[in-house]
Symmetry: C2
Subunit: 284 residues, 2 copies
DNA sequence: AGCCGGAATTTCATTGAACGGCACACGCGG
DNA sequence: CCGCGTGTGCCGTTCAATGAAATTCCGGCT
């Protein structure tokens, strides 16, 4: 491969004055489209880095400083970015407003919230609502008591599919091809680090489909039990998972099953799921 | 460089039929930057139009179909847009995930929610949290009972500054220049359509600043009273407004004032407001 | 089936928007 | 005083973006 004739590209211009013509702009627009760049700037923000200076933004997104500045300014003007009191860049309110129209984000949350409140009043611990995005679950809403047991996940954050209540529900109802992909890779139960055998997981998923519930215990930050149920949409496919998380000590764990199932079904109904249609027995 | 002896490779052949050479690409890149275009596509979505076909998208954003398609495809790939089961475009989950990092959006909501829950348990009607963006207030969170009185505004939606509880609080604590701008234009009390005199509004704002509360009644969809209080941030400026909305009938309206004020202050404290610092008397 | 209107998609010559290296101003710590 | 990092302006180069027209696709209406 050495043959690339590396001869400094700079070179050949070399107008008469041989020395150093110092060509101003050399490698211009190359490869990556603008939108991708802009998006790279935005995705450089994470839960751990909610605000950045221009230089940080430039480095984190792999964009040269002058380009980063230009893009950041435009995003600023559009309201996708804002500057905090200290001048650092943060994700803008306008972007949040826009994103609140996402059907699988706030849209879903909007109809789910009242049902979640009902469940919350009953348990007074945690109520979770998640959807699947790629190989992970995305937490769309969470209601939590201030004095509730530790939670690992924040709203807008991602959860593993194979070691959480909502994750198992979503995985169990995904297409078979996708399940195979997930099962193919080595999996470990999240906080504890215990490996999960594909065969055992397969059995668990079948169980989840059969009972319409997923029950998961975890010990790590604090012993808790999660009970999760599928939420179905208009075309009867599973679009989300609803779950409660309570301390493992209580006598209730499985006693919550009917409540979770009922709430998930009520939510499904108001999303238009035919399977959960109102009075049973009145089939077409 | 134009002189490059263009000797059209393909082109001018234009077989004998001289009439119309039909040049393929005519007016190319002109004026508007790409990002603005992409953003125009996204902002074409509204609460009333949460999903669109490509043609609708193209018309609503003022972008030619072929350009709209190209951009939409890229946004699709980035996850900023998604296609529903029916093939219509909707705002994507990835964008929602990203936007959940907005400090003034979900960030604020995250710390406010427990406090709002407290207030909600007390009133069991509506609890609102809003921030100011431009000349309007943006509703960041809302807790509502299922059987509560009518609400006009949705989370992610905008409220007028001059005729809502949260709006008045935000306006009262905005910079004087900005207040003047707002007062300069003709204002009407929102749902009813009653005009508001600038002088009266000025007095109201002063009152709001003096008492640290805004109390607003509206009759239109149903008689309700809103009681709102300012929320202060780390630099002691007002960053948000917290409010309850209850039916006007009850004897409670003003009885809620202490609760709202106390909750707003507790929230301010956990946002780091020095004015609301914990035990009074222990100055630095 | 045949025709039609609109939507979605592809093609392609054209060019200005985007690019990024360089230089400079500024603030800060040694 | 001098180096270092950060933010910003400048500007020659060029390729990514553009949109009219052509083509394909699809559903409804004769």
């Amino acid at each position: 491969m050495g043959h690339t004739a590396v001869v400094g590209h700079t070179a050949q211009v070399t107008n008469a004055s041989g020395a150093s013509p110092a060509p101003r702009g050399r490698r211009p627009a190359h490869g990556e489209p603008v939108i991708d760049r802009a998006f790279a700037l935005l995705t450089a923000f994470t839960a751990a880095r909610r605000s950045m200076t221009l230089a940080e933004l430039s480095r984190a997104s792999g964009t040269p400083p002058s380009t980063a500045l230009r893009l950041a300014r435009r995003l600023l003007q559009l309201g996708a970015l804002e500057r905090g009191a200290d001048g650092r860049y943060v994700i803008g309110l306008r972007l949040w407003e826009l994103a609140s129209l996402a059907p699988r984000g706030h849209g879903l949350r909007e109809v789910a919230l009242p049902y979640m409140e009902d469940l919350y009043e009953a348990t007074h611990q945690h109520v979770l609502l998640a959807v699947r995005d790629g190989a992970e679950a995305l937490l769309v809403e969470r209601l939590s008591a201030r004095d509730a047991v530790n939670v690992l996940y924040r709203v807008g954050g991602r959860l593993p599919l194979h070691s959480t209540g909502v994750g198992l529900v979503l995985l169990a109802h995904a297409e078979a091809r996708f399940q195979d992909q997930i099962l193919a890779r080595p999996l470990v139960h999240e906080p504890e680090g215990v490996p999960v055998s594909p065969a055992a997981l397969r059995r668990t998923l079948a169980e989840v489909r059969r009972t319409g519930l997923a029950v998961v215990e975890r010990s790590e930050p604090g012993p808790v039990v999660a009970v999760a149920a599928p939420v179905r949409g208009g075309d009867d496919s599973v679009v989300a998972a609803l779950s409660v998380v309570v301390p493992a000590g209580g006598a209730e764990p499985r006693g919550l099953s009917p409540a979770v199932r009922a709430t998930a079904r009520a939510l499904s109904r108001s999303l238009g799921s035919p399977r959960s249609a109102a009075p049973p027995g009145t089939g077409p």
